[in-house]
Symmetry: C2
Subunit: 400 residues, 2 copies
């Protein structure tokens, strides 16, 4: 007999399939396109080291002490100003809650808004980490139908009848994980209009928005409906994920409950980390730094695009991402990405099968490739290896 | 009409009364004994600065990248060895989960173990932050009767009938917040025995255990019942709370669910912070450092003890804490700490009323005083001011 009785919600909590896959792919020699991590070459080590030193010299007692749950006010002010500038959002610093990574923002949103059995609308596929953050609060996931421009406004408008009582719709408008797609401006406006009409508030997650290659992304959904959107941002992709710094911008109505959830969860985000990051970015550092990340990732995207054209079997489909970190492939008919992973790893290359990202029956032909952690030469070699595995599999399907 | 519908659990989430009180007491000139924070004079700034530099020089790519949800393995190994040494616990590094402060450990425990309506047994008074961490999971708090040696074993043994289905009992055996009391060794053994008999597992929280003044604390409850106790520890009181580093040691049975809850909550604890702290402590730093904190706090404890004897009105009761950070006072009959706070602040001194710490009808005469953030001279002055306010209040009671 066990002493411990688990909460019912534990049945909804499972080992991350992707983390299991990543373990498999960490074998040395494997060219991994499986990770969802930024390139370590983009971390501004010197600037961070200087900022650590400055903070510990100028404000050691404050940087090492307990701090406010809301976050470090100068950083909150910076976020508010930045969102005005890049996302056309009118945000007061008081609306900004600094979180321990953007993932915590998802957990806090789930804690404050989801009751067991209530619907939460998601794209399908969507960010696996969001499904994992929401799942312990036992929602009923409702998948929004979509096309290449994102979720369909009519699917949003239908939620009151298709999923009555939907607490919110979770959307990633920019270079979505895993698909890499961007919602065009007209689709954004139509979706916000539909969500308002359906009285379904939105949770807008934007970890990749700054990583555009050709042109800035359209304004945030929150810019059109400030009181109906919770907006999540992150420093993980433009500075460092190792500091775990993200933020939530909440309508005034919701702010206090997210703050109380934050207090209950970890009292506050490490104040040392907040002060160091503020010290790094306060004088426009990101205006110089982010373009270097864009240029690097764009070249890697180009390398992967070229390699895919060279090596993928006929019938493989993708849309070229215009930013972010991922290609999303659909394999030729008859193939199943999951069992192919093991063969790919044996051949020396790794990807993430698409299945875990779906809130509804998955597309077994889908897979995700990250282009940001390998050099253009490694990308060419890796995609060639993957092409070999796929050509062989296509041959087997044809022969069967 | 509001767009947002809050989860039912939000009714259980409230602004922290203590944080509101702390705002009141932050007025300059007020001698505050209200905070629950360590002395900033104890932060090893030089060692932390050197460690930041070392980590960013030797392993910048790893320290700034995403990392394992379990935590940094060398730090987990250190924790396991340390608990063996100081708590008589046999712990495998694999059982150690690094958390974003010990507060997160409480949240994860709540997430994994509490269903709405299920009882959770607590001391009364107990750590307010634990009540806040557990509350969103909607437990029914069951207060354990106790005496000056801690909760009564018979109260533990009675749980199956007094609070059937109790998921766990939450205990702070060392220099409890807020009472400052230590469970004697015999009480520990009796409580573990009773908990086993009642099949009620324990959550043991030990943020203050290293801060003993006269003699080390008895072994951890977990040392007698490894498979029935989740143990929580922290670096906040011996190094710095600003890094938000704590840990949970879980029985093998429970580990995977706490890990999945951790992944869902914030992916992982900042790896930079973990590596820096490991760098600081790896070569025995705490063996030199913690005794300096003990000596400092002991002198402050002595100063407050002397000042209390000098200035408290007859009928004020306390037990001298033998470690930790707090005195817990019971005011003379007829006094109520809550309304007295405003008069104390007006007089230039602040404390925390005891009421918020109770899971059942509070003792209005209780209040908590921290002795660690003021100098002995400030303590004398502050307690003298408090004595003035109390003498006046006692006089008013006598005259009425």
């Amino acid at each position: 007999m066990s002493t411990w009785q688990l909460a019912r919600r534990c049945a909804r909590m499972n080992p991350s399939i992707i983390r299991e896959i990543l373990k498999l792919t960490e074998r040395s020699g494997v060219l991994s396109m499986a990770g969802g991590v930024p390139s370590a070459d983009t971390f501004p080590v010197t600037a961070i080291a200087a900022a650590c030193d400055k903070v510990l010299t100028e404000a050691p007692r404050e940087a090492l002490q307990y701090a406010a749950s809301e976050g470090y006010m100068p950083l909150r002010e910076w976020v508010a100003a930045q969102l005005q500038r890049t996302q056309s959002m009118a945000v007061k610093p008081e609306q900004v809650l600094i979180t321990t990574g953007s993932q915590q923002g998802l957990d806090l949103v789930g804690k404050a808004l989801i009751d067991a059995g209530t619907p939460v609308a998601v794209e399908s596929p969507t960010y696996l980490g969001a499904l994992q953050a929401f799942a312990p609060y036992e929602p009923a996931f409702a998948a929004l139908d979509g096309d290449d421009d994102g979720p369909l406004p009519e699917a949003m408008r239908a939620l009151p009848s298709s999923a009555p009582g939907t607490r919110f719709a979770y959307l990633l408008p920019n270079f979505q994980n895993p698909t890499g797609l961007v919602l065009p401006r007209v689709r954004r406006e139509a979706l916000v209009h539909a969500a308002r009409a359906a009285a379904v508030p939105l949770v807008e997650d934007n970890p990749y928005g700054d990583l555009w290659f050709d042109e800035p992304t359209p304004p945030a959904l929150a810019s059109w409906w400030p009181e109906g959107v919770v907006y999540l941002g992150s420093f993980s992709k433009v500075l460092t994920p190792g500091f775990r710094l993200g933020y939530v911008v909440a309508p005034a109505e919701l702010g206090p409950k997210l703050l109380q959830a934050k207090q209950a969860s970890d009292l506050h985000t490490p104040i040392f980390n907040q002060r160091v990051v503020y010290e790094v970015i306060r004088n426009g550092f990101l205006d110089q730094h982010v373009p270097t990340i864009r240029a690097r990732y764009r070249a890697q995207r180009d390398a992967m695009e070229a390699a895919l054209r060279r090596h993928m079997p006929v019938g493989t489909a993708w849309r070229t991402p215009r930013g972010g970190m991922f290609f999303w492939l659909r394999l030729p008919e008859g193939l199943d990405a999951m069992p192919l992973l093991e063969r790919a790893v044996a051949a020396g290359v790794a990807f993430v099968p698409g299945a875990p990202f779906f809130a509804r029956p998955p597309d077994p032909r889908a897979l995700r490739l990250s282009f940001v952690t390998l050099s253009p030469e490694q990308i060419e070699r890796g995609i060639a290896l993957l092409g070999g595995v796929l050509h062989e599999a296509v041959g087997a399907v044809a022969a069967s």
